[in-house]
Symmetry: C2
Amino acid sequence: MRRVEAGPGGGTVRGPRQGRPTLEEVAERAGVSRATVSRVVNGQTTVNEDLRVAVEAAAAELGYVPHAAARSLVTHRTDSVALILPESPNRVFSDDQFFPSVIRGVAGELDAAGKLLVLLTTGSAEARERAERYAVGGHVDGVMFASLHDADLLPELMLRRGVPVVCNGLPHLDAPCIDVDHQGGVLAAVEHLLAKGHRRIATIAGPQDMVAGRARLDGYREAMTAADRRAIIAVGDFTAESGQAAMRQLLADEPDLDAVFVASDLMAHGALQALREAGRRVPDDVAVVGFDDIALATFCDPPLTTVRQPIAEIGSTMARAMLRVLEGEPVEPLTILPTSLVIRDSA
Amino acid sequence: MRRVEAGPGGGTVRGPRQGRPTLEEVAERAGVSRATVSRVVNGQTTVNEDLRVAVEAAAAELGYVPHAAARSLVTHRTDSVALILPESPNRVFSDDQFFPSVIRGVAGELDAAGKLLVLLTTGSAEARERAERYAVGGHVDGVMFASLHDADLLPELMLRRGVPVVCNGLPHLDAPCIDVDHQGGVLAAVEHLLAKGHRRIATIAGPQDMVAGRARLDGYREAMTAADRRAIIAVGDFTAESGQAAMRQLLADEPDLDAVFVASDLMAHGALQALREAGRRVPDDVAVVGFDDIALATFCDPPLTTVRQPIAEIGSTMARAMLRVLEGEPVEPLTILPTSLVIRDSA
DNA sequence: CCAATGCGAGAGAGCGCTCTCTGACCTCGC
DNA sequence: GCGAGGTCAGAGAGCGCTCTCTCGCATTGG
């Protein structure tokens, strides 16, 4: 860290080039002022052709790369954006492909805009603390939140500190929000089951502290009410194990159910296992519809009929919204992406 | 970007507090010098208790957070590390869980050390360019590479620019490298097949421009040579489709093969489909062993016997190596993590 | 009681860059 | 032919922080 004045071999005048070249050195070599080098480096057009060429040559010879910190100290920009995943790293990259897909969507869009993606997981209290200091400390130009939990105050906190925010999973916030049409998807699923002649349709809902969990349950309730059917509800936490447990529970409580809408494919996979254990055939005895349409859905036995949600698009849409915010352009406060029913063999 | 001097309502003297509080303002409020505030903020112990309390109070009242760029301009540290994924965002987050798992391992370890993770994908030429400028521009303290391709010069380039590097997938480099024991795993797989009485054992190899592809093929060749058996080889690119195609090819060329070692689970999944199409039973007619042990392996029909590699550990080990490098501590130049055979039903 | 020693706080010089302001030089127009 | 206007490069002031150096003051030994 501290500069070493002379290497082994001693007290020569100004040891060999050490550390990275600075703009000043480029200026000296090109025989111009710092300001001119800065103009060339930043692509300003008001520079004489000859000087420009000289500067570019000098920069290339020295291998000059602008120092990010120095630049952003004065410009107040960093050209990078954070994506906050409010889970532990372990949960973020679990089997459901949600976060990876969001990341993919975000990364693709930011890439194209020449911005960089900083990934932050805030599963622990310290991690949240760090993320806050990081964002507020000016490391990034803006912050995007994926799959927020209700109680999460981080977005608001950042907002108050003047950090641009775009989010997913928490619409009641003074920041642009991107989400999918949970209810519409569920409605299509339940209607499909009804159309197939199923009458005793249960649901395995997701966690109720997340919009995705609540909205899908609301959709189910609404659809059942509209069809004048009784709601039969079990609750899981979006994992396969919880789906299996919830299905067992449902079979015990309501042995004559003939269909189940499961609020995530992972839980649906667990439910299929429970049904197999119980000797129920799918879809003949019990029809199953999932939600997500992750890769696993096609590998299930039988392949899962499910509600497809465009996860990567959540990411790309968030990124685009963020880019607009950073440009100072107006942004839709709430964007709802469409879902669609993918019919396979399980219902 | 440009400071707005006066809001609507006019030319008052110094509008309301705007922008973030600076260290100087904290100093003024606490009635001490900038240096003292800096000492307190950075946890130095040589500060009088009363002053320390005063400074902390002032900082809290103003909501002071140090400006990252200003700090790193003088310290030359950023406390963040980049992980470079040399693929397009689309490939990075495809079905094989390789990159997500590596990210998980890295994130967990960096998290614990209070460092931040910056994710860079270098699938395109511009993305590579940007990543280079980013790292060399001092945005991060070091760079980690996951699953390098042979021809990738980026690590060497960074190394030359004095950026600390840790890598995976390319051992012949002047930087610490973490990898798994591909050959040992394959050896165990082939020996398992031989022990089960299989004699005509083919392989579906991965891309030969990656260490993972080559090493697994080498392992197969070696094991077959040791057993005095003829090698039967098809090549895929680690995707399910390529596995399916390769299996069809093998069945056409060598109809009487009785086992196949497939260099990735994704390809193995494709191979199983091809075998099903051809009416071959698994494992009775043809035994199948995969490599990776991703979640998909348990969902296959039949569940896949496969070589487990500790992917997340690649990440955590890389991260730990990087942390040591940054601390100036000595680091093992090459770390090989063990693989193990997981026996399920396909062989 | 005074010099030697030590400890903690302040002063001030940058880190590498951007950006405004100034001023040199040139081109026009009247 | 000379002033007005325009263009383009340089000078210089910071951005917010860290860190060395210096200095004041208290403590201690002779």
